[in-house]
Amino acid sequence: MNINATFFAELIAFCIFVFITYRYIWPSMASVLEERRKEIDEGLQAASESKRQLEEAKEESSRVIDVAKSEASTLINQAGSRADQLIDEAKEQATEEAKKIKETAESDIAQSTNKAKETLKEELSVLVVAGASKILNKEIDESANKEIVDQLIKEL
């Protein structure tokens, strides 16, 4: 327990070291730490911000997908009904066309039948006259009997 001038030496040394710490060591480290703290803080904020944005983007994309899906399904439905419609229309047209063709064919047939009938009638009248003249063995005045034959043909 001998206190002597060492005390002053230690006093001065301590003051110097405190000053060095005060001037050079403490503030520089504090500023480095503060800057890092700020940087980390900013980083964390940016991370949470981007997380939020990601969430939003996810929601947006799922919304878009939903819309697209519903649109696609309506389109498909529309296309289906349109196809049905087209098929129906085509069927109708075809049946109509077929009917028309049939009708023409029928009228054609009727026409040619009539024509044939006419021709047959005329042929028949000639044949009847010829046959009758042969049967009667005599010349029949064609002009005299023409009226009767024509009558006959008409009645056929």
Binding site: I3, A5, T6, E10, F17, I25, V32
Partner: protein
């Protein structure tokens, strides 16, 4: 047998006495000259004074205490300064990590204990804690280590590597704290308020005694713990040293080894704790001085 025991006893007390004497350089009244204490160093006759340590007055310097404390201070603060110089705000390296950990540790202690605005408190806490810690760690080095490095008579066998065990060093630290506490108090309460608080309210001059004694206690607490620890190391070393004195006492080797180890392990706690306590009390005193009440 009795003679041997008596011899041992003399040697033992000599040994302890030797370990309590610092390497002293001071003013000798007898010869009116500066010099090292008598017989502490034999290298230079001109540096040897005729006075013993006890004969020197106030004007004497403990060269070992001053050298070790300044050396350790330069080491510690140089280390922190160097790391700070190259510190970067990006990902820190291992050394910077350590420095930042220390900084944060002391910074949080200061911010939780001190609520004023002064910028000197944190550096003061930092400097006192680390400086004292570096001193105290010297206690864990073997007590006889200095003797292995120097020849007898070079002065180095009087060299004490533990500055804390010299009351001057802790007292100087406490004095700085006391000056700062006084300054803070005057700043907060004004000179009149501070004097009134010291001498009149509420217990009269008792307050002044408590004011002084709490700072003396701050120094003595540190000094006492480390001095006692050092003393126990010395006592263990004596026990241990019996091995070298006579082979009839080799029995002491193993217990000495075990006790040395046990005390060193326990002492690690004291070493760190006392530095921490000094810092925390400094912060608390300064906080008390800067709050109005």
């Amino acid at each position: 047998m009795a003679k041997e025991a008596a011899n041992n006893l003399v040697e033992t007390s000599d040994y302890i006495g030797h370990h309590l004497v610092n390497l002293t350089f001071g003013w000798c009244e007898k010869t009116s000259s500066w010099g090292f204490a008598h017989h502490q160093q034999d290298l230079s006759k001109s540096l040897d004074s005729a006075c013993d340590v006890s004969e020197m007055g106030f004007w004497a310097f403990h060269m070992d205490t001053i050298f070790m404390s300044v050396f350790l201070g330069v080491l510690v603060f140089g280390f922190f300064g160097l790391i700070n110089r190259s510190a970067k705000k990006g990902t820190p390296g291992k050394l910077q990590n350590f420095v930042e950990f220390v900084h944060e540790f002391i910074g949080s202690a200061v911010s939780s204990g001190y609520h004023g605005t002064s910028k000197i408190v944190a550096p003061l806490a930092f400097a006192s804690c680390l400086w004292i810690l570096s001193w105290n760690l010297m206690d864990l080095l073997p007590v006889e280590m200095a003797n292995f490095f120097g020849q007898a008579g070079s002065g180095i066998n009087y060299f004490k590597i533990l500055p804390t065990a010299d009351l001057n060093a802790p007292l100087a630290l406490a004095a700085v704290v006391m000056v700062l506490v006084t300054y803070f108090s005057i700043n907060t309460h004004g000179l009149g308020g501070f004097l009134k608080e010291l001498f009149i309210v509420p217990l009269g001059p008792l307050e002044f005694i408590s004011f002084v004694s709490k700072h003396v206690a701050l120094a003595l607490r540190l000094y006492g713990n480390l001095f006692a620890g050092e003393m126990i190391f010395i006592l263990i070393a004596i026990m241990f040293g019996q091995f070298f004195m006579s082979f009839s006492q080799t029995l002491w080797f193993l217990p000495g080894l075990i006790m040395n180890l046990a005390w060193a392990l326990f002492h690690i706690l004291i070493v760190a704790l006392q530095a921490y306590i000094f810092m925390m009390l400094t912060i608390a005193y300064l906080n008390l001085a800067s709050t109005k009440h």
